[in-house]
Symmetry: C2
Subunit: 377 residues, 2 copies
Amino acid sequence: MPAGTGQHLTPSQRLDWLRLIRSENVGPVTFRQLLNRFGSAQAALEALPSLVRNAGLGTRITPRGEAEDEMEATEQRGARFVGSGEPDYPPLLRYISAPPPLVVVAGGDGLDWSHTVGVVGARNASAAGQKMTRMLATDLGESGYTVVSGLARGIDAAAHRASLATGTVAVLAGGLDHIYPAENIPLAEEIVARGGALITEMPLNWEPRARDFPRRNRLISGLSLGIVVIEAAKRSGSLITARLALEQNREVFAVPGSPLDPRAEGANHLIQQGARLATSAADIIETLAEADPARRQLLEPDWEPEFDGGLDAIDAAPPSQDDRGRLIEALSVTPVPVDALIAGTGLSASAVQTLLFELDLTGRLEWSSGQLVALRG
Amino acid sequence: MPAGTGQHLTPSQRLDWLRLIRSENVGPVTFRQLLNRFGSAQAALEALPSLVRNAGLGTRITPRGEAEDEMEATEQRGARFVGSGEPDYPPLLRYISAPPPLVVVAGGDGLDWSHTVGVVGARNASAAGQKMTRMLATDLGESGYTVVSGLARGIDAAAHRASLATGTVAVLAGGLDHIYPAENIPLAEEIVARGGALITEMPLNWEPRARDFPRRNRLISGLSLGIVVIEAAKRSGSLITARLALEQNREVFAVPGSPLDPRAEGANHLIQQGARLATSAADIIETLAEADPARRQLLEPDWEPEFDGGLDAIDAAPPSQDDRGRLIEALSVTPVPVDALIAGTGLSASAVQTLLFELDLTGRLEWSSGQLVALRG
């Protein structure tokens, strides 16, 4: 699905999407599978109670009123929900594995979401690192690229500040009402005021926990054609972003430094692992300009939701308790393809799908890349 | 020809080799072709006068007495001449294109010439660059590698000093009596005193000119499994050494630095062009240990001199003035393979070879990689 195309959700569909994605144990992968299976979020919400009951465990389904409240509060905050099939969904984000079905976006109406570079790095950045960041972000912005970062202290904040005039996107680990760190709330406000955007997949009042940051990092890289790492320590969030970027088939650049400077360790290591050495915005732009058309040909959007029904499977006979036992026996902590489960158990594809949904909704399943499934360890 | 094998020259052969390589317009490529054609340096020296006469120009052939004087003076200086087919010729140097037929070596009797790393860089090195050089050279030396460099100020001198105890080779652009820069004469003496070596292809009293340094650089890389570049400016001798190393199929490493530091520009650029980023001796050793067996299988020595005659071509009829005109017409400033010249002129291979020798000796030919030939522009 190219940028700017797609189909708008109706207000009622959007509310159903929000109820479904906010329900317990429904992540992007399960959401997608439920939608593909039942044809719409509304049909999935109707089917969920019996799926949950069959699994013998209580999975909380978000009540309609709760979703309505979140929707209203978010809109009052000046932000909007955008679904992954809608024309204004960030186009590059569609190509990652398990894109968030809904993102909350504040600001950014005129932004170019297709020519984007993530600029990330250390919170305890040196003066030289910050200077380098300002140079890169300014030049990238003036060359027409939108700068994406994580609103952290240090490199992130320097990248946003240097690209306020040309357009920048801050990706949040928590909700819009819990911007972290608090010292960067004024910066977040200035980003929106000057045409940039804040974006998150979390509810308004979600306070970010440690595990939300790597999750957020997949959006920084997922929103970007490539990312640039400046002054990253060897075990740092920036290196996680770099790894995610590679998994998402995005370019990874790193700014080198002297081996005598410990703050250069992560970036130098990335270059040794194959990241491109960047000394200027020109290095980055040249690569992105060359890489772009090829990538666009190679990548397929990970998921295009079907809006037009497809409810075949609903009428199939529900799997028996015996079927359930067979499937659980076939699963282990080692991820296997769903096809292998179907072949291994002799169950129908429809029965395996239904049983996996049940397990998924009870929080016992772990999906990798949306293709492999394992029991949680 | 593996390291340590080969055949010693007799004193009389060595003197003929020296006369031939010191004769006007006889470089390593012509030397090799003359030896292959006439079977020995002695036979080539006998044939030269008529070749030169036929070409209608005077090419000075080094008189026997002059070569004897150089030989004697060099030996009195404590140095020796080593021919490219002899067992003590530096083994890695055999694999470069056009290895020097004779090198002058002072010291270095117990040195390991097979496990060698070239360490090169800026003359105006920073304190950090010199510290980095000391760390690398010390660690490389303690890991059993001989450190090769060019005895220049800055990085070169730091590399030699840090590896005095473990063995180091200084490659000179001039003769042993014209060590440049003069401030490093004590360092050169200490290198030899502590078991290291000085090596050059130039006569004792040769004062190095600007063009001798790139020529010397091909020996630094040619003596080394790989080279490390530290703090090189963008247009510098170190980058020439790096290019030559790549042409010689050697590994190239570069120590990165901040893009804000102009002294890092050359090394960062090399990494962008494909050189390996090195932050420690371990990075270098790991690559050389992996690369080594593969390279040794891939490379063939560029030339193994034939000591046992092969004088077939000498008796062939000499080419006519008409043949000479045809060949010159077929040549241009664009390099062509010798085979193409033979096919294009309809002359015999023997006639083409003889005419090329004549032209070569008059300084009108330019050889590329020993395979392609062109008229000098």
